[in-house]
Protein backbone atom coordinates (compact mmCIF):
# COMPACT_ATOMS: atom_id res chain seq x y z
CA UNK A 1 0.00 0.00 0.00
CA UNK A 2 1.37 3.37 -0.94
CA UNK A 3 1.57 6.09 1.65
CA UNK A 4 -0.89 8.98 1.99
CA UNK A 5 1.89 11.55 1.95
CA UNK A 6 5.13 10.97 0.11
CA UNK A 7 7.87 13.54 0.48
CA UNK A 8 10.91 13.13 -1.73
CA UNK A 9 14.08 15.22 -1.51
CA UNK A 10 12.21 18.28 -0.26
CA UNK A 11 14.58 21.25 -0.27
CA UNK A 12 14.07 24.89 0.62
CA UNK A 13 16.91 27.36 0.36
CA UNK A 14 16.16 31.00 1.05
CA UNK A 15 18.30 33.42 -0.94
CA UNK A 16 19.97 36.12 1.14
CA UNK A 17 20.09 39.43 -0.70
CA UNK A 18 22.23 42.33 0.30
CA UNK A 19 23.06 45.82 -0.85
CA UNK A 20 21.38 48.28 -3.17
CA UNK A 21 21.35 45.89 -6.10
CA UNK A 22 19.81 43.11 -4.01
CA UNK A 23 22.43 40.66 -5.15
CA UNK A 24 22.18 37.16 -3.82
CA UNK A 25 25.12 36.69 -1.49
CA UNK A 26 24.23 33.26 -0.17
CA UNK A 27 21.49 30.83 0.71
CA UNK A 28 20.01 29.85 4.03
CA UNK A 29 19.77 26.10 3.64
CA UNK A 30 16.64 25.74 5.76
CA UNK A 31 15.65 22.30 4.51
CA UNK A 32 17.75 19.94 2.42
CA UNK A 33 16.85 16.59 0.89
CA UNK A 34 14.11 15.63 3.29
CA UNK A 35 12.22 12.47 2.39
CA UNK A 36 9.59 10.60 4.36
CA UNK A 37 6.23 8.86 4.09
CA UNK A 38 3.16 9.28 6.24
CA UNK A 39 0.35 6.73 6.09
CA UNK A 40 -3.32 7.50 6.61
CA UNK A 41 -4.23 7.78 10.27
CA UNK A 42 -0.60 7.88 11.32
CA UNK A 43 1.35 10.52 13.25
CA UNK A 44 4.85 11.40 12.18
CA UNK A 45 6.62 13.68 14.62
CA UNK A 46 9.28 16.04 13.32
CA UNK A 47 11.58 17.04 16.17
CA UNK A 48 14.66 19.20 16.45
CA UNK A 49 15.88 22.33 18.16
CA UNK A 50 14.83 25.90 17.28
CA UNK A 51 15.94 27.02 13.85
CA UNK A 52 16.59 23.56 12.47
CA UNK A 53 13.95 23.89 9.75
CA UNK A 54 11.01 22.03 11.29
CA UNK A 55 8.47 24.73 10.57
CA UNK A 56 9.87 25.28 7.08
CA UNK A 57 9.27 21.59 6.37
CA UNK A 58 5.66 21.94 7.53
CA UNK A 59 5.00 25.00 5.41
CA UNK A 60 6.77 23.57 2.36
CA UNK A 61 4.62 20.42 2.63
CA UNK A 62 1.51 22.57 2.24
CA UNK A 63 3.19 24.81 -0.31
CA UNK A 64 2.65 27.81 1.91
CA UNK A 65 6.21 28.47 0.87
CA UNK A 66 7.35 27.16 -2.48
CA UNK A 67 10.00 24.45 -2.13
CA UNK A 68 13.25 24.97 -4.04
CA UNK A 69 13.33 21.34 -5.11
CA UNK A 70 11.76 17.99 -4.38
CA UNK A 71 8.22 16.65 -4.58
CA UNK A 72 5.33 16.32 -2.18
CA UNK A 73 2.63 13.84 -3.17
CA UNK A 74 -0.63 13.65 -1.24
CA UNK A 75 -2.91 10.74 -2.03
CA UNK A 76 -1.41 10.32 -5.50
CA UNK A 77 -1.58 14.03 -6.41
CA UNK A 78 1.71 15.82 -6.75
CA UNK A 79 1.09 18.94 -4.69
CA UNK A 80 4.34 20.56 -5.75
CA UNK A 81 3.30 20.42 -9.43
CA UNK A 82 -0.26 21.79 -9.08
CA UNK A 83 -1.21 25.07 -10.77
CA UNK A 84 -2.68 27.71 -8.46
CA UNK A 85 -6.44 27.08 -8.81
CA UNK A 86 -5.99 23.32 -8.41
CA UNK A 87 -3.75 23.91 -5.40
CA UNK A 88 -6.46 26.00 -3.74
CA UNK A 89 -8.88 23.13 -4.19
CA UNK A 90 -6.31 20.66 -2.94
CA UNK A 91 -5.98 22.66 0.29
CA UNK A 92 -9.22 21.07 1.35
CA UNK A 93 -7.30 17.85 1.97
CA UNK A 94 -4.34 19.34 3.80
CA UNK A 95 -4.59 21.73 6.67
CA UNK A 96 -2.41 23.27 9.33
CA UNK A 97 -2.72 24.05 13.04
CA UNK A 98 -0.47 26.86 14.17
CA UNK A 99 1.59 27.28 17.27
CA UNK A 100 0.28 30.65 18.37
CA UNK A 101 -3.44 30.58 19.14
CA UNK A 102 -3.35 34.36 19.59
CA UNK A 103 -2.00 35.15 16.13
CA UNK A 104 -3.52 32.48 13.97
CA UNK A 105 -7.16 33.57 14.14
CA UNK A 106 -8.39 36.64 12.29
CA UNK A 107 -9.31 39.02 15.15
CA UNK A 108 -12.02 40.69 13.06
CA UNK A 109 -13.92 37.51 12.31
CA UNK A 110 -16.27 35.82 14.75
CA UNK A 111 -15.80 32.12 15.37
CA UNK A 112 -18.86 31.43 13.24
CA UNK A 113 -17.33 33.33 10.32
CA UNK A 114 -13.94 31.70 10.81
CA UNK A 115 -15.42 28.23 10.71
CA UNK A 116 -17.99 28.91 8.02
CA UNK A 117 -15.33 30.24 5.67
CA UNK A 118 -13.63 26.94 4.75
CA UNK A 119 -17.00 25.15 4.61
CA UNK A 120 -18.47 27.62 2.14
CA UNK A 121 -15.23 28.03 0.21
CA UNK A 122 -14.94 24.34 -0.56
CA UNK A 123 -18.66 23.81 -1.08
CA UNK A 124 -19.07 21.62 2.01
CA UNK A 125 -22.00 23.64 3.29
CA UNK A 126 -24.67 25.88 1.84
CA UNK A 127 -25.78 29.14 3.37
CA UNK A 128 -28.85 27.25 4.60
CA UNK A 129 -27.07 24.63 6.67
CA UNK A 130 -23.81 26.37 7.50
CA UNK A 131 -24.94 27.39 10.99
CA UNK A 132 -25.72 23.82 11.86
CA UNK A 133 -22.41 22.57 10.44
CA UNK A 134 -20.51 25.17 12.44
CA UNK A 135 -22.33 24.09 15.59
CA UNK A 136 -21.42 20.45 14.91
CA UNK A 137 -17.80 21.44 14.39
CA UNK A 138 -17.74 23.35 17.67
CA UNK A 139 -19.14 20.39 19.50
CA UNK A 140 -16.61 18.01 17.92
CA UNK A 141 -13.83 20.22 19.20
CA UNK A 142 -15.24 20.61 22.70
CA UNK A 143 -16.69 24.10 22.41
CA UNK A 144 -20.21 25.32 23.09
CA UNK A 145 -22.64 26.42 20.37
CA UNK A 146 -22.91 29.95 21.78
CA UNK A 147 -19.17 30.40 21.24
CA UNK A 148 -19.94 30.87 17.56
CA UNK A 149 -20.95 34.50 18.06
CA UNK A 150 -17.74 35.39 19.86
CA UNK A 151 -14.54 36.93 18.62
CA UNK A 152 -11.09 35.42 19.23
CA UNK A 153 -10.09 37.98 21.88
CA UNK A 154 -12.92 36.75 24.08
CA UNK A 155 -11.34 33.29 24.46
CA UNK A 156 -8.56 31.77 26.52
CA UNK A 157 -5.51 30.31 24.79
CA UNK A 158 -6.75 26.75 25.01
CA UNK A 159 -10.18 27.66 23.66
CA UNK A 160 -8.62 29.56 20.78
CA UNK A 161 -6.48 26.58 19.93
CA UNK A 162 -9.68 24.54 19.85
CA UNK A 163 -11.08 27.02 17.35
CA UNK A 164 -7.84 26.61 15.36
CA UNK A 165 -8.28 22.84 15.43
CA UNK A 166 -11.93 23.19 14.39
CA UNK A 167 -10.94 25.39 11.45
CA UNK A 168 -8.35 22.87 10.30
CA UNK A 169 -10.87 20.07 10.72
CA UNK A 170 -13.71 21.86 8.92
CA UNK A 171 -12.86 20.55 5.47
CA UNK A 172 -12.27 16.99 6.75
CA UNK A 173 -8.66 16.94 5.54
CA UNK A 174 -6.62 13.77 5.06
CA UNK A 175 -3.52 15.43 6.48
CA UNK A 176 -3.03 18.07 9.15
CA UNK A 177 0.34 19.65 9.79
CA UNK A 178 0.50 20.53 13.47
CA UNK A 179 3.16 23.21 13.89
CA UNK A 180 3.95 23.05 17.60
CA UNK A 181 0.24 23.15 18.40
CA UNK A 182 0.67 22.89 22.16
CA UNK A 183 3.95 24.64 22.93
CA UNK A 184 2.24 28.00 23.55
CA UNK A 185 -0.16 26.47 26.07
CA UNK A 186 0.33 25.54 29.71
CA UNK A 187 0.66 21.91 30.63
CA UNK A 188 -2.90 21.12 31.67
CA UNK A 189 -4.31 22.72 28.52
CA UNK A 190 -1.63 20.96 26.46
CA UNK A 191 -2.97 17.62 27.61
CA UNK A 192 -6.52 18.59 26.59
CA UNK A 193 -5.45 19.64 23.10
CA UNK A 194 -3.25 16.56 22.64
CA UNK A 195 -6.16 14.34 23.67
CA UNK A 196 -8.49 16.22 21.33
CA UNK A 197 -6.06 15.70 18.44
CA UNK A 198 -5.84 11.99 19.24
CA UNK A 199 -9.62 11.63 19.47
CA UNK A 200 -10.04 13.36 16.12
CA UNK A 201 -7.43 11.09 14.56
CA UNK A 202 -9.23 8.03 15.86
CA UNK A 203 -12.62 9.22 14.56
CA UNK A 204 -11.60 10.61 11.19
CA UNK A 205 -8.39 8.76 10.31
CA UNK A 206 -6.42 11.95 9.83
CA UNK A 207 -2.67 11.76 9.34
CA UNK A 208 -0.62 14.22 11.37
CA UNK A 209 2.77 15.69 10.73
CA UNK A 210 3.43 16.78 14.27
CA UNK A 211 6.18 19.38 14.51
CA UNK A 212 7.48 19.75 18.03
CA UNK A 213 10.48 20.14 20.25
CA UNK A 214 8.70 18.64 23.24
CA UNK A 215 9.84 15.03 23.42
CA UNK A 216 7.33 14.13 26.13
CA UNK A 217 4.41 15.12 23.89
CA UNK A 218 6.04 13.44 20.89
CA UNK A 219 6.49 10.19 22.78
CA UNK A 220 2.80 10.30 23.69
CA UNK A 221 1.45 11.28 20.27
CA UNK A 222 3.66 9.91 17.54
CA UNK A 223 3.84 6.58 15.74
CA UNK A 224 7.13 7.50 14.13
CA UNK A 225 9.67 10.24 14.75
CA UNK A 226 11.97 12.05 12.34
CA UNK A 227 14.82 13.93 13.97
CA UNK A 228 15.93 17.00 12.03
CA UNK A 229 19.31 18.65 12.40
CA UNK A 230 20.17 21.75 10.37
CA UNK A 231 17.54 21.04 7.73
CA UNK A 232 18.31 17.35 7.25
CA UNK A 233 16.67 14.26 8.68
CA UNK A 234 19.38 12.55 10.71
CA UNK A 235 17.29 9.72 12.11
CA UNK A 236 13.84 8.30 11.53
CA UNK A 237 12.36 5.41 13.47
CA UNK A 238 9.21 4.14 15.16
CA UNK A 239 8.73 6.07 18.39
CA UNK A 240 9.42 3.18 20.76
CA UNK A 241 12.59 2.19 18.89
CA UNK A 242 13.85 5.75 18.76
CA UNK A 243 13.46 6.35 22.47
CA UNK A 244 14.80 2.92 23.44
CA UNK A 245 17.80 2.80 21.12
CA UNK A 246 18.63 6.18 19.64
CA UNK A 247 21.21 5.55 16.94
CA UNK A 248 22.34 9.07 16.12
CA UNK A 249 24.46 10.91 18.70
CA UNK A 250 22.23 13.99 18.21
CA UNK A 251 19.09 12.04 18.99
CA UNK A 252 20.81 10.67 22.05
CA UNK A 253 21.72 14.14 23.28
CA UNK A 254 18.17 15.39 22.63
CA UNK A 255 16.67 12.58 24.66
CA UNK A 256 19.24 13.09 27.40
CA UNK A 257 18.52 16.83 27.48
CA UNK A 258 14.77 16.40 27.87
CA UNK A 259 13.77 16.97 31.47
CA UNK A 260 12.65 13.80 33.19
CA UNK A 261 10.95 13.75 36.57
CA UNK A 262 13.52 11.40 38.08
CA UNK A 263 16.03 12.81 40.56
CA UNK A 264 18.37 9.84 40.09
CA UNK A 265 19.11 10.89 36.53
CA UNK A 266 20.04 14.44 37.39
CA UNK A 267 23.79 13.98 37.23
CA UNK A 268 23.52 12.01 34.04
CA UNK A 269 22.82 14.90 31.67
CA UNK A 270 25.12 15.45 28.73
CA UNK A 271 23.69 18.50 26.98
CA UNK A 272 24.76 19.21 23.41
CA UNK A 273 27.70 21.57 23.46
CA UNK A 274 27.71 24.78 21.43
CA UNK A 275 25.04 26.31 19.21
CA UNK A 276 23.33 25.23 16.06
CA UNK A 277 25.74 26.16 13.23
CA UNK A 278 24.65 28.76 10.71
CA UNK A 279 22.40 27.42 7.99
CA UNK A 280 24.10 29.93 5.67
CA UNK A 281 27.32 27.92 5.81
CA UNK A 282 26.68 24.41 7.13
CA UNK A 283 29.80 22.54 8.26
CA UNK A 284 31.29 20.19 5.68
CA UNK A 285 30.87 16.47 6.13
CA UNK A 286 28.39 15.55 8.84
CA UNK A 287 26.66 18.77 9.91
CA UNK A 288 26.70 17.62 13.51
CA UNK A 289 30.44 16.98 13.77
CA UNK A 290 31.40 20.26 15.51
CA UNK A 291 29.17 19.31 18.44
CA UNK A 292 29.41 15.54 18.31
CA UNK A 293 31.19 13.76 21.17
CA UNK A 294 32.13 10.89 18.87
CA UNK A 295 33.30 12.84 15.82
CA UNK A 296 36.34 11.54 14.00
CA UNK A 297 38.29 12.71 10.96
CA UNK A 298 35.93 10.97 8.58
CA UNK A 299 32.94 12.97 9.90
CA UNK A 300 34.59 16.25 8.92
CA UNK A 301 34.89 15.38 5.26
CA UNK A 302 32.30 12.78 4.38
CA UNK A 303 28.57 13.36 4.79
CA UNK A 304 26.88 10.21 6.10
CA UNK A 305 23.88 9.07 4.05
CA UNK A 306 20.66 7.85 5.62
CA UNK A 307 20.91 4.08 5.92
CA UNK A 308 18.88 1.36 7.58
CA UNK A 309 20.26 0.08 10.85
CA UNK A 310 18.00 -2.29 12.77
CA UNK A 311 14.58 -0.80 11.91
CA UNK A 312 15.88 2.76 12.01
CA UNK A 313 17.15 4.90 9.21
CA UNK A 314 20.00 6.99 10.46
CA UNK A 315 22.64 9.28 9.01
CA UNK A 316 25.74 8.55 11.05
CA UNK A 317 28.98 6.74 10.22
CA UNK A 318 29.03 5.16 13.64
CA UNK A 319 25.34 4.38 14.13
CA UNK A 320 26.07 0.84 15.37
CA UNK A 321 28.52 2.13 17.95
CA UNK A 322 26.07 4.79 19.24
CA UNK A 323 23.39 2.23 19.98
CA UNK A 324 25.80 0.09 21.98
CA UNK A 325 27.13 2.96 24.04
CA UNK A 326 23.66 4.16 25.00
CA UNK A 327 23.48 4.47 28.72
CA UNK A 328 20.72 2.52 30.43
CA UNK A 329 17.78 4.75 31.20
CA UNK A 330 17.29 3.41 34.73
CA UNK A 331 20.13 3.51 37.22
CA UNK A 332 19.98 2.51 40.84
CA UNK A 333 19.39 5.58 43.04
CA UNK A 334 22.51 7.19 44.49
CA UNK A 335 23.38 6.82 48.18
CA UNK A 336 22.15 10.30 49.03
CA UNK A 337 18.88 9.79 47.23
CA UNK A 338 18.39 6.44 48.96
CA UNK A 339 18.95 8.07 52.35
CA UNK A 340 16.39 10.79 51.60
CA UNK A 341 13.89 8.25 50.36
CA UNK A 342 14.38 6.26 53.58
CA UNK A 343 13.69 9.36 55.66
CA UNK A 344 10.55 10.10 53.68
CA UNK A 345 9.40 6.52 54.01
CA UNK A 346 9.97 6.61 57.77
CA UNK A 347 8.06 9.87 58.08
CA UNK A 348 5.14 8.47 56.14
CA UNK A 349 5.01 5.35 58.31
CA UNK A 350 5.14 7.34 61.55
CA UNK A 351 2.24 9.48 60.34
CA UNK A 352 0.16 6.48 59.45
CA UNK A 353 0.87 4.85 62.81
CA UNK A 354 -1.88 6.52 64.90
CA UNK A 355 -4.50 5.24 62.49
CA UNK A 356 -3.07 1.73 62.47
Amino acid sequence: MSALLEVRNLTKHFPVRRGVLRRTVGHVQAVTDVSFDVHAGETLAVVGESGCGKSTIGRALLRLIAPTAGTVTLDGTEVTALPDPALREMRRHMQIIFQDPFGSLNPRMSVAETLAEPLLLHGLATSANVRQKVAELLETCGLQPWHAARFPHEFSGGQRQRVGVARALATRPRLIVCDEPVSALDVSVQAQIVNLLQDLQASFGIAYVFISHDLAVVRHMADRVAVVYLGRVVEEAPTATLFATPRHPYTRSLIAAAPRPDPGLRSDRQPVRGDLPSALAPPPGCAFHPRCPMAEARCRTERPALRAVGGTSVACHFAEAVAESTTPAERPPSDRLRRRLDILQAARESREDPHA
Binding site: R92, N106, P107, L121, G142, Q159
Partner: protein, 294 residues
Protein backbone atom coordinates in the same frame (compact mmCIF):
# COMPACT_ATOMS: atom_id res chain seq x y z
CA UNK B 1 -12.32 21.69 28.41
CA UNK B 2 -15.32 20.05 29.98
CA UNK B 3 -18.81 21.49 29.92
CA UNK B 4 -18.56 22.17 33.64
CA UNK B 5 -15.68 24.49 33.02
CA UNK B 6 -17.45 26.48 30.34
CA UNK B 7 -20.59 27.54 32.19
CA UNK B 8 -21.41 30.49 34.47
CA UNK B 9 -18.22 32.54 34.20
CA UNK B 10 -18.13 31.83 30.52
CA UNK B 11 -21.55 33.09 29.45
CA UNK B 12 -21.45 35.49 26.52
CA UNK B 13 -20.58 39.06 27.47
CA UNK B 14 -21.90 41.60 24.97
CA UNK B 15 -19.45 44.36 24.09
CA UNK B 16 -20.77 47.88 23.60
CA UNK B 17 -20.87 49.24 20.08
CA UNK B 18 -17.92 51.50 19.30
CA UNK B 19 -20.03 54.65 18.96
CA UNK B 20 -21.52 54.10 22.42
CA UNK B 21 -18.05 53.79 23.90
CA UNK B 22 -17.03 56.92 21.99
CA UNK B 23 -19.85 58.95 23.49
CA UNK B 24 -18.73 58.14 27.03
CA UNK B 25 -15.73 60.41 26.52
CA UNK B 26 -17.01 63.96 27.32
CA UNK B 27 -14.54 65.78 25.05
CA UNK B 28 -15.40 63.44 22.20
CA UNK B 29 -19.09 64.06 22.84
CA UNK B 30 -18.66 67.83 22.69
CA UNK B 31 -16.50 67.57 19.57
CA UNK B 32 -18.98 65.27 17.88
CA UNK B 33 -21.92 67.56 18.70
CA UNK B 34 -20.03 70.60 17.44
CA UNK B 35 -19.03 68.90 14.18
CA UNK B 36 -22.59 67.72 13.76
CA UNK B 37 -23.80 71.29 14.16
CA UNK B 38 -21.18 72.46 11.65
CA UNK B 39 -22.36 69.85 9.18
CA UNK B 40 -25.99 70.88 9.66
CA UNK B 41 -25.06 74.51 9.12
CA UNK B 42 -23.09 73.58 6.00
CA UNK B 43 -25.91 71.56 4.52
CA UNK B 44 -28.64 74.02 5.43
CA UNK B 45 -26.66 77.20 4.62
CA UNK B 46 -29.16 78.42 1.97
CA UNK B 47 -32.01 78.10 4.47
CA UNK B 48 -30.24 79.41 7.57
CA UNK B 49 -28.52 82.45 6.08
CA UNK B 50 -30.30 85.68 7.13
CA UNK B 51 -28.87 87.65 4.19
CA UNK B 52 -27.52 87.05 0.72
CA UNK B 53 -23.87 86.18 1.40
CA UNK B 54 -22.69 87.70 -1.87
CA UNK B 55 -24.65 90.96 -1.91
CA UNK B 56 -22.71 94.07 -0.94
CA UNK B 57 -24.38 96.89 0.94
CA UNK B 58 -23.54 100.34 2.09
CA UNK B 59 -23.33 99.35 5.78
CA UNK B 60 -19.71 98.22 5.72
CA UNK B 61 -17.68 96.98 8.69
CA UNK B 62 -20.67 96.80 11.03
CA UNK B 63 -19.34 95.34 14.30
CA UNK B 64 -20.87 92.16 15.74
CA UNK B 65 -23.81 92.24 18.11
CA UNK B 66 -21.73 92.08 21.31
CA UNK B 67 -19.97 95.36 20.43
CA UNK B 68 -21.52 98.65 21.56
CA UNK B 69 -22.63 99.68 18.09
CA UNK B 70 -23.68 96.19 16.97
CA UNK B 71 -27.19 95.24 16.00
CA UNK B 72 -29.20 92.05 15.51
CA UNK B 73 -29.63 92.79 11.81
CA UNK B 74 -26.10 91.49 11.29
CA UNK B 75 -25.35 89.27 14.33
CA UNK B 76 -21.69 88.87 13.38
CA UNK B 77 -21.42 92.22 11.65
CA UNK B 78 -20.52 92.89 8.03
CA UNK B 79 -17.24 92.80 6.14
CA UNK B 80 -15.41 95.48 4.16
CA UNK B 81 -17.95 95.27 1.35
CA UNK B 82 -20.98 95.29 3.60
CA UNK B 83 -21.73 91.54 3.26
CA UNK B 84 -23.31 89.74 6.23
CA UNK B 85 -20.58 87.75 7.97
CA UNK B 86 -22.91 85.20 9.57
CA UNK B 87 -24.31 84.24 6.16
CA UNK B 88 -20.81 84.12 4.71
CA UNK B 89 -19.65 81.89 7.60
CA UNK B 90 -22.48 79.48 6.79
CA UNK B 91 -21.59 79.38 3.11
CA UNK B 92 -17.85 79.42 3.78
CA UNK B 93 -18.09 76.47 6.15
CA UNK B 94 -20.02 74.64 3.48
CA UNK B 95 -17.30 75.13 0.89
CA UNK B 96 -14.47 74.46 3.35
CA UNK B 97 -16.06 71.20 4.44
CA UNK B 98 -16.69 70.11 0.88
CA UNK B 99 -13.07 70.82 -0.04
CA UNK B 100 -11.81 68.97 3.04
CA UNK B 101 -14.10 65.95 2.77
CA UNK B 102 -13.77 65.43 -0.97
CA UNK B 103 -10.00 65.78 -1.02
CA UNK B 104 -9.48 63.61 2.06
CA UNK B 105 -11.95 61.07 0.67
CA UNK B 106 -10.26 60.80 -2.73
CA UNK B 107 -6.71 61.08 -1.43
CA UNK B 108 -7.35 58.76 1.49
CA UNK B 109 -8.95 56.11 -0.69
CA UNK B 110 -6.22 56.15 -3.33
CA UNK B 111 -3.45 56.34 -0.76
CA UNK B 112 -4.79 53.47 1.35
CA UNK B 113 -5.32 51.36 -1.73
CA UNK B 114 -1.73 51.94 -2.85
CA UNK B 115 -0.37 51.20 0.61
CA UNK B 116 -2.44 48.04 1.05
CA UNK B 117 -1.48 46.75 -2.39
CA UNK B 118 2.18 47.42 -1.72
CA UNK B 119 1.98 45.29 1.41
CA UNK B 120 -0.20 42.60 -0.18
CA UNK B 121 1.95 42.14 -3.27
CA UNK B 122 5.57 42.51 -2.17
CA UNK B 123 6.61 42.73 -5.84
CA UNK B 124 4.77 46.05 -6.15
CA UNK B 125 6.22 47.45 -2.96
CA UNK B 126 9.42 49.16 -4.22
CA UNK B 127 7.55 50.77 -7.15
CA UNK B 128 4.69 52.09 -5.05
CA UNK B 129 7.00 53.38 -2.36
CA UNK B 130 9.28 55.21 -4.81
CA UNK B 131 6.20 56.85 -6.34
CA UNK B 132 5.13 57.88 -2.86
CA UNK B 133 8.58 59.29 -2.13
CA UNK B 134 8.36 61.43 -5.25
CA UNK B 135 4.91 62.68 -4.25
CA UNK B 136 6.08 63.39 -0.72
CA UNK B 137 8.81 65.67 -1.99
CA UNK B 138 6.24 68.26 -3.19
CA UNK B 139 4.86 70.53 -0.46
CA UNK B 140 1.07 70.78 -0.72
CA UNK B 141 1.18 74.57 -0.98
CA UNK B 142 3.67 74.45 -3.86
CA UNK B 143 1.61 71.79 -5.59
CA UNK B 144 -1.47 73.99 -5.17
CA UNK B 145 0.34 76.96 -6.70
CA UNK B 146 1.42 74.86 -9.69
CA UNK B 147 -2.06 73.42 -10.22
CA UNK B 148 -3.72 76.82 -10.00
CA UNK B 149 -1.21 78.12 -12.52
CA UNK B 150 -2.24 75.34 -14.89
CA UNK B 151 -5.97 74.97 -14.18
CA UNK B 152 -6.81 78.47 -13.04
CA UNK B 153 -8.09 79.40 -9.57
CA UNK B 154 -11.16 77.78 -8.02
CA UNK B 155 -12.18 75.06 -5.57
CA UNK B 156 -11.50 72.25 -8.07
CA UNK B 157 -7.72 72.68 -8.33
CA UNK B 158 -7.51 73.07 -4.54
CA UNK B 159 -9.31 69.77 -4.06
CA UNK B 160 -7.01 68.07 -6.55
CA UNK B 161 -3.92 69.52 -4.88
CA UNK B 162 -5.08 68.48 -1.40
CA UNK B 163 -6.03 65.00 -2.59
CA UNK B 164 -2.60 64.55 -4.16
CA UNK B 165 -0.99 65.80 -0.96
CA UNK B 166 -2.99 63.28 1.08
CA UNK B 167 -2.09 60.26 -1.05
CA UNK B 168 1.55 59.71 -0.04
CA UNK B 169 1.06 60.12 3.72
CA UNK B 170 -1.91 57.83 3.61
CA UNK B 171 -0.08 55.26 1.49
CA UNK B 172 2.80 55.16 3.95
CA UNK B 173 0.58 54.74 6.98
CA UNK B 174 -1.60 52.15 5.25
CA UNK B 175 1.46 50.22 4.11
CA UNK B 176 3.07 50.13 7.53
CA UNK B 177 -0.19 48.96 9.12
CA UNK B 178 -0.75 46.40 6.36
CA UNK B 179 2.81 45.03 6.51
CA UNK B 180 2.41 44.25 10.19
CA UNK B 181 -0.93 42.59 9.49
CA UNK B 182 0.56 40.57 6.62
CA UNK B 183 3.13 39.13 9.04
CA UNK B 184 0.40 37.74 11.25
CA UNK B 185 -0.16 34.02 11.24
CA UNK B 186 -3.83 34.36 10.37
CA UNK B 187 -2.90 35.57 6.89
CA UNK B 188 -1.00 32.33 6.42
CA UNK B 189 -3.97 30.47 7.87
CA UNK B 190 -6.24 32.11 5.30
CA UNK B 191 -3.85 31.09 2.56
CA UNK B 192 -3.75 27.55 3.91
CA UNK B 193 -7.55 27.41 3.63
CA UNK B 194 -7.19 28.07 -0.09
CA UNK B 195 -8.78 31.52 -0.07
CA UNK B 196 -8.56 33.40 -3.37
CA UNK B 197 -6.45 36.56 -3.26
CA UNK B 198 -9.47 38.86 -3.39
CA UNK B 199 -11.07 37.38 -0.27
CA UNK B 200 -7.74 37.31 1.52
CA UNK B 201 -7.31 40.99 0.73
CA UNK B 202 -10.82 42.08 1.70
CA UNK B 203 -11.62 39.81 4.61
CA UNK B 204 -8.22 39.41 6.22
CA UNK B 205 -6.05 42.37 5.29
CA UNK B 206 -8.55 45.20 4.77
CA UNK B 207 -10.72 44.32 7.74
CA UNK B 208 -7.76 44.37 10.05
CA UNK B 209 -6.37 47.64 8.69
CA UNK B 210 -9.48 49.69 8.10
CA UNK B 211 -10.01 51.09 11.58
CA UNK B 212 -6.39 52.20 11.96
CA UNK B 213 -6.49 53.83 8.54
CA UNK B 214 -9.78 55.56 9.31
CA UNK B 215 -8.25 57.01 12.46
CA UNK B 216 -5.37 58.40 10.46
CA UNK B 217 -7.71 59.87 7.85
CA UNK B 218 -9.90 61.51 10.47
CA UNK B 219 -6.82 63.13 12.01
CA UNK B 220 -5.66 64.12 8.56
CA UNK B 221 -8.99 65.86 7.88
CA UNK B 222 -8.11 68.74 10.22
CA UNK B 223 -4.75 69.26 8.55
CA UNK B 224 -6.28 69.27 5.09
CA UNK B 225 -8.81 71.91 6.07
CA UNK B 226 -5.97 73.98 7.41
CA UNK B 227 -3.91 73.65 4.22
CA UNK B 228 -7.03 74.35 2.16
CA UNK B 229 -7.66 77.50 4.15
CA UNK B 230 -4.02 78.49 3.71
CA UNK B 231 -4.32 78.07 -0.05
CA UNK B 232 -7.46 80.21 -0.08
CA UNK B 233 -5.72 82.74 2.12
CA UNK B 234 -3.02 82.98 -0.54
CA UNK B 235 -5.72 83.62 -3.09
CA UNK B 236 -5.48 80.23 -4.77
CA UNK B 237 -8.81 78.83 -3.65
CA UNK B 238 -12.35 79.79 -4.40
CA UNK B 239 -12.81 82.89 -6.53
CA UNK B 240 -14.52 85.93 -5.03
CA UNK B 241 -17.32 86.57 -4.27
CA UNK B 242 -17.66 82.93 -3.18
CA UNK B 243 -17.27 82.56 0.57
CA UNK B 244 -14.56 80.31 1.94
CA UNK B 245 -13.26 80.54 5.48
CA UNK B 246 -9.59 80.96 4.56
CA UNK B 247 -10.40 83.53 1.94
CA UNK B 248 -12.62 85.45 4.39
CA UNK B 249 -9.71 85.61 6.82
CA UNK B 250 -7.49 86.91 4.02
CA UNK B 251 -9.97 89.62 3.08
CA UNK B 252 -10.31 90.71 6.68
CA UNK B 253 -6.58 91.16 6.98
CA UNK B 254 -6.80 94.65 5.43
CA UNK B 255 -9.16 95.81 8.19
CA UNK B 256 -7.42 94.02 11.02
CA UNK B 257 -6.72 97.19 13.03
CA UNK B 258 -10.11 98.90 12.95
CA UNK B 259 -12.51 95.96 12.29
CA UNK B 260 -10.73 92.85 13.64
CA UNK B 261 -13.90 90.75 13.71
CA UNK B 262 -13.84 90.39 9.91
CA UNK B 263 -10.65 88.30 10.03
CA UNK B 264 -11.01 86.84 13.51
CA UNK B 265 -14.45 85.25 13.19
CA UNK B 266 -13.63 82.99 10.20
CA UNK B 267 -10.24 82.17 11.75
CA UNK B 268 -11.89 81.08 14.97
CA UNK B 269 -14.26 78.94 12.91
CA UNK B 270 -11.33 77.22 11.16
CA UNK B 271 -9.65 76.74 14.52
CA UNK B 272 -12.74 75.17 16.04
CA UNK B 273 -13.35 72.82 13.11
CA UNK B 274 -9.72 71.63 13.08
CA UNK B 275 -9.62 71.29 16.84
CA UNK B 276 -12.81 69.27 17.09
CA UNK B 277 -11.79 67.07 14.14
CA UNK B 278 -8.54 66.27 15.93
CA UNK B 279 -10.21 65.65 19.27
CA UNK B 280 -12.72 63.34 17.62
CA UNK B 281 -9.97 61.54 15.71
CA UNK B 282 -8.04 60.96 18.93
CA UNK B 283 -11.12 59.67 20.70
CA UNK B 284 -11.88 57.45 17.73
CA UNK B 285 -8.42 55.93 18.01
CA UNK B 286 -8.91 55.24 21.70
CA UNK B 287 -12.10 53.41 20.91
CA UNK B 288 -11.17 51.58 17.71
CA UNK B 289 -7.48 50.81 18.01
CA UNK B 290 -7.28 47.15 19.06
CA UNK B 291 -3.86 47.77 20.60
CA UNK B 292 -5.35 50.26 23.05
CA UNK B 293 -8.40 48.13 23.73
CA UNK B 294 -7.91 45.69 26.55
Amino acid sequence: MSAAETDAADTPAPTRAWYLRLMRDPSALVAALFLLAVCVVAVAAPVLSPHDPFASSRSVMVPPVWAETGSWTHPLGTDGQGRDILSRIFWGTRLTLVIGLVSVGIGGFLGSLLGLLAAFRPGLDPWVMRLVDVMLSFPAILLGLALVAVLGPGAGPVIVALAIATVPDCARIARSIAVSVMNQEYIEAGRALGLPARQLFLRYLLRNCVSSIMIFISLRFGQVILIGAALSFLGLGARPPTAELGMMAAQGRDFLLFAPHIAVIPSVMIFLIVLTANVLGDALRDVLDPRLRS
